[in-house]
Each structure stands twice: as C-alpha cells, then as structure tokens.
Subunit: 202 residues, 4 copies
DNA sequence: AATGAATGAGTATTCATTCAT
DNA sequence: TATGAATGAATACTCATTCAT
C-alpha cells in the first residue's frame, strides 16, 4: 500500500501545488501585489480557499513555493544555454535575450520577494550559489570563445560578473522606464561587451 | 504683510512635512514595508495621526513625497561629485562608493516605489531625464580623464551607461545577498572599469 | 445536483441577509442614525463584522437592501388592504391605521434614505410607480364605496392623492411632535374624509 | 461703558452668528449633510474654525441656531400672508406656493433636524404652538372667505389642518420624486381645496 | 477676539485563516 | 479531501474640538 498509493498521493499533491502556484503567478501578473489575495488565487486555480491550506501552511509558504518555481524556470533556461553549441558571440546575445525574457515574465514575483522578506528564508549560501551559477554560464560561453580564438584572453570571471550586473541593472531600468527600454538598450550592452570580447570586429 | 506671514507659514509647513517624511523613512528602514503604518509614522514623528493628514492627502501622497525627498538626496550627492576636482580615477571610485551608499540607505524606499506603482505618477520623460542625469555625471568624469590624457578614447556615453547598469545591478545584489557583498564586489567593478579606462596601469 | 445545492445555498444567503437587515433596523430604531455603525449591526445580528461584508459590498449597499425590505413590508400591507372585503368606510380607517403603523415602525429608515441619497439609486419611474400604487389602493376603496352607493361620486384619483398627501403629512408631524399626536389627529383625518365621502352620516 | 459697548459687542456677535449660520445653510444646500463640516462652514463664512467656537458651544448648538433661523424665515412669510388683503381664494394659492418655496429652500435643514435629534431640544409645547400657528394662518384665510360669502361654512380648523397635512406631504414627495413634481401636483391640491371651499365655481 | 495647527477617538473596510460539513 | 462561510484583528482616514499664539 505504501509504495503505489503513496506515489499516487504524492503525485496528486504535486499537481495541485503546481496548479495553485500557476494561478498565483497569473493573479500576480495581472494585478499588483496588493491584489494577491488568497480568494483570487483560489478562484483562478478553480479550488476552494480551504484546499490551498491543505497544501500550503500559509500565504508566505505559498509565495515561497511560487518563488522557487520561478527559479526552476530560470535555471531551465540557463541549462539550455549552457548546452547550446552555437557561435559564442551569438550565445552571448541569446543569453542576454532569454534571461531577460524570463526575468521580465516573472519580474513581479521577483520584486515581491524583496519586500516580503522571503530572502530571509533562503540560506545565504544557496543564494550565493544561485548567483554564481548565473555567472558560470556566461563564463563558460566566454571560455568557449577564447578556446575558439574568437574572444580576447581577458579575466573570464570578472567579465562574467560585470555581464550579470549589467543584465540586472537593465532589467531594473526596464521595469522603471517602461516597455521600449530593453529593446533599445540591450543593443548597447551587446555592442559594449562584444566590442570588448571579440578579437576582430564581426 | 502678505509676504512675511505667508513665508513663515509655508516654512512651518515645509518643516512639518520634512519631519514626517523623515519619520516615514525611519520606519521604513527599520522594519519592512508592511510596517509602514500611519500609526508608526505618527508615533516616530511625534505627532498625532490627524496631523499627518493636515499635510498629506493620503498614504500614497506621503509616500510620493518621501520618494521625491530621496531623489533630492541622491541628486545632491551627484552634484557634489560633478563639482569635485580630484583625479578622474579617484572620482570614479568616489562615484561608485557615494552613490552606492545613498542608494543603500534608501533602498527600501526605492524597492517600495516599484510595488506601490508610484512610478506611474512620474512622467516617463522625467524618469528618463533622471537616468540620463546619472549617466552624464560619469560621462563628465570620463571626458575629464580623456582630456587629461589619463583615460583611453572610448565611447564615453556607452561606457557611462554600462557603469550605471553595473551600479544598479550591484545594489540589487547587495540587497539580495546581504551586508558584505558590496564591499567585496565593488573592488571587482573598480578593477574592471579602471582597467578598461586607464591608459597605463596605476 | 446544481439546482438543489444552489437552492440551499441561495436560501442560506437570503436568511443571512434578512437577519442582518433586521438587526440594522433594530439598531436604527433604538438609536439615531449616527449609531448605525457596522459594529452595532454585527453585534445585534450576532455575527462578525466580516460576515456582513460577505453579503453586502459596503454600508450603502446594506442600507439599500434594508430600504427595499421596508418597502416590501409596506407593499404587503397594501396588498392585504386591497383584498379586504369589509365596508369601504371601515377600510379607509384600516388603511389609515395600518399604513401609518408600518411607516411609523420604519420611519427612521425612511428618514435616513433622504440624506444618504439612496433615492438617487432608484430610477424615478420606479419611485413614481411606487407612489401611484399607494394612491391606487385608496382609489380602489373609494370606487368600491361609490359602487356600493355609500360614497358620493367624486373624483376618485384626486381624492386618493389628497389622502396620500395627508397621510404623509401626518406621519411627518408625528415624527416631529411625538408619541400621542397620531392617535388624536388621525381622528380628524377620518372625520374630514369620511364626511367628504359618505352619502349619509354614519 | 456698559450700554454702548455692550450694544456694539452684542451687535457684532449677532452679525457674526448670522454670517456663520448663512454659510452653514450654503454648504448644506450645496452638498449633502455628510459634508457639513465645521471646516467648510468656516471657509464659507470667511472666518477661522476657532471663531465659530467663540459664538457656538459646539456643532449641535450651531445647527440649532441655523434651525431657528429657518423658522424665523418661515414665520416671516406666514406673517406677510396673514396681513395680505387679497381675495381669499388667491391667498390660498399664495400660501401654498410661498410656504412651499421657503420649505423647499430650506428642506435640507429641516430633513437634517430629524436625524440630529434637534427636535428633542425644543419643548413639545413650542413645537405644537409652531404647528398651530401654521394652521391658524390658513384658518384665518378661510374665515375671511366665509365672512365674504365666498367660501362654504365648513369646519375651519379641521379644513386648515388637512391643508397643512397636504402641504407637508407634498413637500415630502417633491423631495422624493424630484424637480417637476410640485408644479404639477400643487394644481391638484388647489383644485381639491378650492372646489371644496368655494360656494360657486370660479 | 481671532486664528488654525494639532489632536485622537471613532468608523468603514480588507483579507488571511479556521473549522464544521 | 474538498469546501467556503464565518471570523476579527488590523489599518487608513475623518472631523469636531482645543489651545497656544
């Protein structure tokens, strides 16, 4: 009874949690944080309020789960980019675009996380590892570029850090300034970094 | 008769507004946004709740004023840096440190502004001008460096933009990762940019 | 499945709304309008404040419902009188007494309605129809009296209008002057109208 | 010192009270009762809030004074009608119109009076005397009509009472139903009463 | 006498959470 | 397990009244 029943039960729980999590993201994206009410989420997910409390201890718990789901999505993107075999310069462009897209999609969740103080629930080491992982993806691309004699031999970690800082700054400003900002400024970022990295002008 | 009486009255109002604004920042800084209650602010400012409503129409109005005060503080810092006559490399370092300090000091106010949707009360043009002003300060330093034959002749606007993006990214990560992050990483930023800018290693 | 469950749910809602409405009338009747606080109503109805907001969007909405309930009560009285088969003169007396009683019972609700501006939520046509309905009840009685050769052949609509005006005036003055006014003056009204209507002195 | 100074002072007080009272009526007429704030009244009267409290103990006191002013205005109208020497039928018409106009003008004050419970500050005897005075004015007109052999010899007090009730009812319905109601229905009232009173059709 | 800034008790409303069915 | 009505603590905001100038 334990194995099969438990598996099935666990699976059903997983699915319920995901459905509720997605409903929460929907509500968040549609409205502002103030409107992230348990009622709205329940309605969007098509379950009763009580049901949510069968899966999550409280609102903060639900939000923490939502937050983790967003990071799973971001990390899936990163994995795809690491395993991509295109030209390094092209991969830099793709990284910029794809990571921006996924962060923009979930920007409200990420913005929320700050004020909710959810970050205090995550061990610093885990947060640092998450940041380092982002940096390593770019570093890997730059190393490939150097190995292929396409990029100059610069400090790969330092440059990758700068690239991450720039990306975060760009996302922040996009949120602040509005719709058309990224489209224009991402070109500047590309120009600056590829100019810096490439041995010969493309 | 009108002028003096009116002046005095206006002055008293200004002072009251500033005192309340500072109390609001205190409460914000000490706790999280959830604790930005009118009661707390009133208590901190040492006035009655009703008094706040003599000066601000509602909570949003008060917060908008607080937000503007923070920008006044930031812009005063920028002005001081523009008028500084030190060595350009040193001014880059100072810019990084000083702007970071003031942003870190008011980081909660800035984070709050996002979710409150206060940004929608500011005309896009004004927001763009504010960003451009930041960029121009760095640009001015870089131009001085080039004029003094200390910096390489690079695209000053593009480089200044990147510097701003990096600074914002750094502040975001500092907020995310905690106390000691900036101290370490600001060295990386300095190293990267001064390496890029300086004609000869210092 | 839909029908029964929905019916039951709807019934429960109806009962809750009525209970709250009656509590509001109680509070109103006991004190003045200033004491029509949501707290008082909740306490009187034996529910929590929040429960009221599960059934009514806000205080105005609740009051509008209360107001409608009062009109339902008045109209039930009217229906009973229309279908009554007594002697017309007796029915005039009953009309005067019964309508007065119900209006007196709910006089505070009706007085309230004026200042709350609730009347602006009711279409003018509906209000006019409500008034016309009252007039028609008396008219019907007078017509019966004429048909039975007990009343003089006067303008039935005009006389019924005057009767309504008098009734309203009487209720107003009762509110203004206090407890014993109606008992005495309703005799005058009876005397005036029956004198005017009856072919031979009773 | 006592006589002249006291007189002057008393006069100034009278004027201040009247000015504030008129401002209150203005605010009431413009907005609803909810907006009858001491601030609004002070602004409208062109004085400081504190000044109002030099003349009236509190808001209720002010309102009581306002209420009395309205009755002074109504009674002045009544006096003018009593002393008028026109044809009795014409005076009935004028009474209907003039009293309606002045009541309509101050209807909000009168409506307010109910809920504020101001009536409890007025001795019942005074209220009854006020009502009786209204009735006596009509009675006087009817008596004149009978003396001039123009009206039938009916019960003058009873008929005058009915006329007052009708007038009050009409004002109530005008408030409830809106602008055009009185213009139309006052014709019905005229028709009914003059028909009842006049010996020969006019 | 006049002023009006300061006061703070009082009120409507929201929403996460519980628990009986 | 799912449900959703009931709960009530918490919070923004109003406005009559006071009192130092």
């Amino acid at each position: 009874m334990d194995t099969f029943y438990e598996k099935q039960k666990s699976l059903r729980e997983q699915m319920a949690k995901l459905a509720i999590s997605e409903a929460a993201i929907d509500v968040l994206s549609a409205k502002s944080y103030d409107s992230l009410t348990m009622n709205d989420i329940a309605e969007k997910a098509g379950v009763a309020i009580g049901t949510i409390y069968n899966y999550f201890k409280n609102k903060e718990d639900l939000f923490y789960y939502v937050y983790e789901q967003v990071h799973v999505a971001i990390e899936e993107k990163l994995d795809a980019i690491v395993n991509n075999q295109d030209d390094p310069a092209q991969r830099i462009r793709v990284f910029l675009k794809e990571v921006f897209d996924v962060c923009d999609k979930y920007k409200i969740v990420l913005a929320m996380a700050k004020q909710i103080g959810i970050k205090d629930r995550i061990p610093v080491e885990q947060k640092k590892e998450r940041v380092a992982r982002h940096i390593r993806v770019t570093q890997r691309i730059i190393e490939d570029g150097i190995a292929q004699k396409k990029f100059r031999e610069i400090d790969t970690w330092l440059t990758s850090e700068m690239f991450l800082f720039v990306l975060i700054g760009l996302i922040e400003l996009q949120t602040f300034l509005g719709e058309d900002y990224f489209a224009r400024e991402s070109k500047s970022v590309e120009k600056f970094f590829l100019n810096y990295l490439l041995l010969k002008e493309e």
